[in-house]
């Protein structure tokens, strides 16, 4: 009986999707992230590009792909703000890398683990953002821990709905 190593599990459980989905989902996430806060006002506690990054990094179980998606979405998000380009890029690159690295080691099909991962990675991403802003760039930046936690909760709730929806588009061999 062959031993189920990390690599063999990775080979077995890599999910594949239609190519158009890799473009469409991040694009829709970026547009909705720009649109929805305008309609929802101060209740827009979510970061859709981060949720999408985490999902694809977990599903593909490839740190390189997770990092690539994270950097692209992060830079796009930065470009839509008036702040320096690269802060979100770094935060989401690390989030993509961590998500994919965790995905290799543990079973990420479990809904609870997905929720916890989203919650934790949102906090990590926001923490990196804060670290870069204050530590690396040495700029003044007021921060609300409550907002950060609410955003982590919001991302988890969205993942609860979005992940099973995107799972339906998996290509079965």
């Amino acid at each position: 009986m062959p031993v189920l190593t990390a690599n063999s599990r990775r080979d077995i459980e890599i999910h594949r999707y239609p190519a158009v989905l890799y473009l469409l989902v991040p694009f829709v996430a970026l547009v909705l992230q720009a649109l929805l806060p305008h309609w929802l006002g101060r209740f827009a506690y979510f970061d859709l590009p981060l949720v999408v990054t985490i999902y694809f990094a977990l599903a593909r179980r490839s740190p390189a792909q997770g990092m690539f998606l994270g950097i692209v979405l992060g830079l796009f998000q930065d470009a839509l703000t008036h702040r320096a380009i690269g802060i979100n890029g770094i935060a989401k690159t690390v989030a993509g890398y961590l998500a994919a690295s965790v995905g290799i080691r543990i079973d990420v099909e479990n809904l609870l683990i997905r929720l916890v991962l989203n919650f934790a990675l949102t906090l990590v991403s926001n923490g990196i953002y804060l670290l870069i802003y204050r530590g690396l760039l040495g700029m003044d930046f007021a921060w609300s821990w409550l907002d950060m936690i609410l955003q982590a909760v919001g991302n988890s709730v969205i993942a609860l709905v979005l992940f099973p929806l995107l799972d339906r588009f998996q290509v079965r061999d």
């Binding site: 694009f27 970026l30 547009v31 992230q33 720009a34 649109l35 929805l36 806060p37 305008h38 309609w39 006002g41 101060r42 827009a44 970061d47 740190p63 390189a64 990092m67 950097i71 830079l75 796009f76 998000q77 470009a79 839509l80 703000t81 008036h82 702040r83 320096a84 380009i85 690269g86 802060i87 890029g89 770094i90 690159t93 690390v94 890398y97 994919a100 690295s101 953002y129 870069i132 690396l136 760039l137 040495g138 700029m139 003044d140 930046f141 007021a142 921060w143 609300s144 907002d147």
Partner: protein, 450 residues
């Protein structure tokens, strides 16, 4: 060695990506003379290009969504209206449902129409050139409170233009693209607008705090600032015209970063979290409509007529002053004779005035009055001629020239002439009302009582 790279390939890629982005960040920030780091307000060409790409990707769907909100209403209404006509005879219930939907849609359109009408009305009476623009999206994060407009460079919008609503100011244009523009809201932490508190006239800088509320900072603790006070633009920032409403004071808090200072949290007048249509001030030169121009011309002509009438009054009062008898002593010595010559080193020259007449019937109000005479006139000692008060006369001149009560009345239109520059007027001879001949000034006679 090869195995090292293979084994740590992902980690090395991660490090390479992080280093590249950190270098990119280092290019974008500047350290100013005070040693503080800040963004370069003008993006470099490369950064502008990235922002342009991102905007080109995200803006079209945003515009489509914004347009579809009105376009969909039109399609919906027309299509379902026709369908209703066809189905009218078949299914009344479906028509009723449809009409209900339509009614809701029309209600929404009416509200939008009212909003636009109000905005248009505000624009008509506003003195500056403005463009109405629609808000089509935002940055998507609370960390950057910017929003995008559906109009840009091609429609005449440029950087640093003020963005307002009929209720109050909203932000300033930060970046301009061909058909869209990025606006930095006043509740962003990096924004800054000069404001003034309406009642206390305290000035400060308005910027957003961590909670996304606009707050006036750099204010010393002041008990006079109370919730409810209006906050207006101060006009010193060269972006917002002076006097535009900003909001009202919501609460006063201690500045966490600076002792002795407070921050005044402002409830914004405009609904920053739900902006739909805004006005962009494209030109701060006053734009007067026909009625305002007419009013201005009428005001100017009225002013000139008033000035002419005032001149006439001045001339008339001068003529009256010359012709009417005054309280002057025609026998008084020329004031120039008594006045010290300027520049002779003695007492400074004082404006000379007419000599005060002695009272014909002195009473207890007369200066120097000591009471009724107790002896006959021929035996009683002659009372001293009443002298005017000289307390205000630094020269010691008793002519009473400096006493305000003794000065010849002047028309009120000559207050600008200093007393020292006045030419002393020769006292006019007092005329007897019946004889119309010069009459000497009567001397004081204490025996005659009224």
């Amino acid at each position: 060695m090869e195995s090292f790279f293979v084994r740590y390939r992902n980690l090395l890629v991660l490090l390479a990506l992080l280093v590249a982005q950190i270098l990119g960040l280092a290019i974008q920030v500047r350290r100013n003379a005070e040693g503080r780091t800040s963004y370069d307000p003008r993006d470099s060409e490369g950064v502008q290009l990235i922002r342009l790409w991102a905007n080109a990707v995200v803006s079209p769907p945003e515009r489509a969504v914004a347009n579809s909100r009105s376009g969909a209403g039109w399609i919906w209404e027309n299509y379902f209206d026709l369908r209703n006509v066809r189905q009218q005879n078949q299914n009344l219930q479906s028509e009723i449902d449809q009409l209900r939907l339509e009614q809701a849609e029309l209600l929404e359109d009416a509200r939008a129409g009212q909003r636009l009408e109000a905005l248009n009305g505000f624009q008509q009476k506003y003195l500056y050139k403005t463009i109405i623009a629609q808000v089509i999206g935002g940055s998507g994060t609370d960390l950057s409170r910017v929003f995008y407009l559906n109009k840009g460079k091609d429609e005449g919008i440029a950087r640093d233009m003020a963005v307002i609503t009929p209720e109050g100011i909203a932000g300033k244009v930060r970046e301009v693209y061909p058909h869209s523009a990025q606006v930095l809201a006043i509740n962003d932490q990096t924004s800054g607008a000069g404001v003034i508190l309406e009642t206390t006239r305290i000035r400060g800088i308005l910027r957003g705090n961590a909670q996304g509320e606009p707050a006036v900072v750099n204010i010393l603790a002041d008990q006079r600032i109370q919730p409810g006070e209006k906050v207006l633009t101060a006009g010193g920032d060269q972006i917002f015209p002076r006097g535009l409403p900003v909001g009202t004071v919501e609460k006063v808090e201690k500045d966490p970063d600076r002792d002795g200072f407070i921050q005044v949290v402002v409830k914004p007048a405009s609904r920053l979290n739900g902006l739909d249509e805004v006005l962009v001030i494209t030109d701060s030169e006053p734009r007067l409509n026909d009625k305002q121009l007419k009013d201005l011309a009428a005001s100017e002509s009225e002013k000139s007529v008033e000035a002419a009438a005032l001149n006439e009054q001045k001339k008339a009062s001068q003529i009256l002053e010359e012709k009417l008898p005054g309280l002057t002593d025609p026998n008084a010595a020329k004031p120039a004779a008594n006045a010290a010559q300027p520049g002779d080193g003695s007492t400074p020259a004082a404006p000379a005035g007419p000599k005060l007449l002695t009272p014909q019937h002195s009473d207890r109000f007369t200066p120097g009055y000591t009471g009724p005479p107790a002896q006959p006139a021929d035996q009683a000692p002659k009372p001293a001629t009443p002298k005017p008060a000289t307390g205000n006369n630094p020269t010691g001149n008793t002519s009473g020239a400096n006493h305000p009560a003794t000065q010849t009345p002047k028309p009120a239109t000559k207050p600008a002439n200093p007393p020292s520059e006045k030419k002393p007027e020769a006292p006019k001879p007092q005329l007897h009302p019946d004889e119309s001949v010069p009459m000497p000034a009567p001397k004081s006679n204490p025996n005659i009582n009224p």
